[in-house]
């Protein structure tokens, strides 16, 4: 019964286009902010339910779990093909979850409400599309589709220096995407010349014979697009600006999801398509990842804007992920992908909390905040929990991923792994600085009018609703990550083999 539903019903398309339908409806109902709000919530919730249902009942096997494949533009060999395996399943789940959070955190959004939610929903379609598409043309389409809503989310609803940040984000990623486009088209043409069949289908393109020089060149095109998105040192400077200026929902999506599309692109397309070039690039990736860990941790230590600290911590965590991927073994890859999911939850949670803080105090500046535990104990408890998770306290989510990455990396590059472990100390240094600046000490100047303390409201019902599941998730992922690791295990071993084990 269930199996037949899953194979016959185009469930992936439903997943993909449901948010888009939400977008259209939002635009239709643009005169009622309330309707749009609820519509967005309902849409994201139903996507979440759908993915959770899939997560619960799909088997944990390697290979594609679900597939859809239709001809689309036959003249150019472009197909509408979607497929889902354990890795994409997890990432889609994460997307669905964080989108609900993004909608809930911007519940009080007042300017151009309809347009805002429409963009958030179309962003969801773009991200899910990236995680599902197996036709490179379709993939590129969704890849670019993510860019536009994000640009406007930052540029229209952002904070002070939003236009600069939005443009910086746009041009960085666009420059990368351009390389990707050129590489995809070249690959398409080379493959067409070799076989006479012009196709963008990933599985056909895998068969392309490439000279090593050409392989490297095309690989670099893919790589550039993906590592700008990750972002890997030294292509990361767009991220702090984008994060800082983006509205809460934008920050959550950026950190939780957009960064993951870069990693996903690497492991799904770049590594398997160009296995030899990928192998050659691993040491460079590892070193860049390591530099990222240190460099970002250092910079995070001297920031005064909390959002900036968290943004740089994202760069550091992504350095960890890349380091694990570069180690190229099962243990490290499982760790990297787990860390990716965990980072999505913790950093997403942190951005949500920062948004709440900014709602209340109007500031994100460590120099004027402080002593929040006194006035907002529940908020502070959550804030502490997420900071601890982010600095890698064992038993909370990030540690599980980090330790697997380190264990896996140590067998290949002991020195790099040992140095990366030192990065963990640094993360404690900057995260505790944030905790100190926000929660401890005397009440900050911003929270005082004259000599009197401002009384802020602690978490309201909507915020409790948002934080409890995320908080539980952080603990659950830290203490029992098996349900997340198992679906990835098969696909990872396939990917490692397809890329050629060293």
């Amino acid at each position: 019964m269930l199996a037949s539903v899953l194979t016959e019903f185009p469930i992936l398309s439903l997943l993909l286009w449901l948010p888009f339908a939400g977008t259209l409806l939002c635009l239709l109902l643009r005169h009622s902010a309330l309707a749009c709000r609820w519509l967005a919530l309902l849409t994201t919730l139903s996507v979440l339910l759908l993915t959770v249902w899939l997560f619960a009942c799909l088997p944990t096997e390697s290979g594609w779990l679900l597939k859809e494949d239709y001809a689309w533009i036959p003249t150019f060999g472009i197909r509408y093909s979607l497929a889902l395996d354990g890795i994409s399943l997890l990432l889609v789940c994460l997307t669905a979850l964080l989108q609900v959070a993004a909608v809930l955190i911007s519940w009080k959004q007042k300017e151009h409400t309809a347009l805002f939610y429409a963009l958030v929903l179309v962003l969801e379609t773009g991200i899910i599309g990236v995680f599902l598409a197996t036709d490179l043309f379709l993939f590129y389409l969704f890849w670019e589709l993510m860019l536009i809503p994000m640009l406007f989310l930052i540029g229209v609803w952002g904070h002070g220096n939003r236009v600069y940040a939005a443009l910086k984000f746009f041009f960085f990623t666009l420059a990368g995407s351009l390389c990707l486009l050129l590489a995809i088209i070249s690959l398409y043409l080379i493959h067409g010349e070799q076989t006479g069949i012009y196709s963008f289908a990933f599985e056909s393109l895998l068969q392309t014979q490439l000279s090593s020089g050409m392989e490297m060149l095309l690989y670099l095109g893919f790589l550039l697009a993906f590592i700008v998105k990750v972002p890997l040192f030294p292509f990361h400077t767009w991220l702090p600006d984008a994060h800082t200026e983006a509205p809460a929902a934008g920050s959550v999506d950026l950190a939780g999801l957009l960064l993951k599309t870069g990693i996903y692109g690497l492991i799904r397309f770049a590594f398997p398509l160009f296995p030899n070039a990928a192998q050659q690039s691993l040491p460079v990736l590892a070193v860049l990842g390591l530099i990222g860990i240190f460099y970002a941790a250092w910079i995070a230590y001297v920031q005064t804007d909390i959002k900036r600290v968290v943004a740089y911590s994202s760069v550091a965590h992504m350095g960890f992920v890349i380091l694990g991927l570069a180690a190229w073994n099962q243990l490290a890859w499982e760790g990297s992908l787990l860390l990716m999911v965990n980072h999505g939850v913790t950093t997403g949670g942190l951005f949500i909390l920062i948004a709440m803080l900014q709602d209340r105090t109007g500031s994100r500046d460590l120099r004027v905040l402080g002593g929040m535990w006194k006035t907002l104990p529940f908020f502070s408890a959550f804030f502490l929990l997420f900071c601890l998770a982010s600095l890698g306290l064992p038993g909370l989510s990030n540690f599980a991923g980090e330790i697997l990455v380190l264990l896996g990396t140590f067998s290949r590059w002991p020195l790099l792994a040992a140095l990366a472990a030192a990065g963990v100390v640094f993360s404690a240094a900057y995260m505790l600085r944030v905790v100190q600046g926000v929660l401890w000490g005397p009440l900050g100047q911003i929270c005082k009018i004259g000599d009197k303390d401002c009384l802020h409201e602690d978490l309201d019902r909507r915020e409790w609703l948002l934080m409890i599941p995320l908080g539980l998730l952080v603990i659950w992922l830290g203490l029992y990550p098996a349900p997340v690791l198992e679906p990835m295990r098969g696909p990872i071993s396939l990917l490692l083999k397809a890329g050629g084990l060293p």
């Binding site: 250092w298 535990w373 306290l393 064992p394 002991p414 030192a422």
Partner: protein, 619 residues
Amino acid sequence: MDSRLLFLLILLPLAGGILNACIGCRLPRRLVPLLAIGSVLGSFILSIVCWSLAAGGGTQVKLFTWLESAGLKADIGLFFDPLAASMCLMVTGVACLIHIYAAGYMARDENPARFFALLNLFVFAMLCIILADNLLLLFLGWEGVGFCSYGLIGFWYEKHENALAGRKAFIVTRVGDLFFTIALLWLFTLLGTVDIAEINQRAAELDPGLITPLVLLLLGGACGKSAQLPLMTWLPDAMAGPTPVSALIHAATMVTAGVYLLCRMFPLVSLSSVGMAVIACVGAFTALYAASCALAQREIKRVLAYSTMSQIGYMFLAVGVGSVAAAVNHLLVHAFFKALLFMGAGALIHLAGGENDIFKMGGLRKKNPLLFGLFLVGILCLAGAPLTGGFFSKDAILLATFSRGDGLSAILWGLGVFTAGLTSFYSFRLLYLVFFGESRGSKAGHHLSPLLVWTLPPLALLGLCGGLLNLPHLYGGQEMLSHWLGTVPAVVLPFVTEIGLVLLMVLSFGAGWLPAHILYRNFRGEQEAPWRQFLLQGWRFDGLYEQIILRPYRFVARFCWIAGDRGLIDGVVEGIGSTMLHWGGYFRRLATGQLSFYLQGFAWGLLLMLGWLLLKAAV
């Protein structure tokens, strides 16, 4: 007996902690401490009940698999052997008394729920360290106690220094944890397992050249947690926390986790003679360093903090000379008398109206003779007065060191004896300054809650009689603890040598006591001296670290940000952008809006194209 009871042992404090953390602020005020005490008491009873499980090879149980991936399998699993059982009993017992004491101490605090939640969580994490059957779970406890210590040192967070002290403790110990992590990674890569028993069993398979670095890494981890050189600077500052916290975490339990780790991994550790020698040296030098600092301290809790550091140094020395039994014995006895001293100090500070400067105390003997008696017991144990627990345990360590017979051991033994003299001196200095003479303070004393005094006698008794735990044959004992732990029996020295060494110990005790008696019995204040300042500030290690670590760190951080991100990377990016704009400016001039200009261009273009075609046709 069902071995799963062991899980209840660690889960009870966890449950207590979670309950207090989540709903503590809604509970009636009196229920909060009761809940915390109840859960720890439950653990204590369970560790007695489960005692028999430890006999023989011990018991291993698992709850579920925490992390499993290619080749890695880390369970939430416990291993209960004699070593773990002894530690468990001590930790839960002392924790229980300190919880009760804390109920009195924190009776007027605004946030009892947060305090007791963290205290319970601490007990949970500490039991995790003790009972973990694999290094990852041990690490969970290891970081867990670090976090609880962080939260409790900075418990009164509204004062900036308290929160700073908490952060310092967390980060400095994390530097140690880094070494521990690397050791863990390395061991897993070499042996393919994180199970402690298996690692110990297969340690002999390892390449001998690798064992020494591994042991040194483990030592690094232990040094961070146990505040040994060179990672010791956090412990004196940690005294900013409430006194029950200092008693439980920074005296009796957490700071001895490093010693426990080395004992737990002893089969591995003992394979490296270089590693052992380094452990012994670190121990002996820390003991001396800390004792010298304690000579000049003025805050009562800081004296005790340095004495803790010094005593843990002795335990490291014991491990380094291969005597686990002596280390564990001193660990247990020290836990009793040091908890006693700290709790006593807390009561004394109350009694003196919140004054913690010993130069401003004085004369408290008359105010509360019972407290004086109890504190005296603690001081006698610490100073190693003959026939107290501290005397036997310290003596065993120095005996073990002496009996090694090599040159290094002889030097370390000499240091140990000298340090024992210093210990006796600063202990009595403390005692005389606080209790004797006239009151030098100006603050009015508070009334003492009975809980603050009546939790001390059991500890005093245990400290006093701690020698019976491992009474050597010389005194007609059976070395019970050594047999229970199944360690190598101590080398038997000739009777005369042994007696001679004991007499020497008595002598060094007296040599410390006498000058203290002369100088501080009737204290009138002392001269400021540069060497006193030097010792008071812990040999100025804080300043040194500020200069060689923190400042460069901040400099690099600023440099990366301003020069790297802002200057170089963004400079290049924005440079490209502005170059484009610049050239765009030139091209913009072409868009004049005049039709004739465009037509002109059109014509020129046409002409060029035609010319090119012609040229091509001609060729």
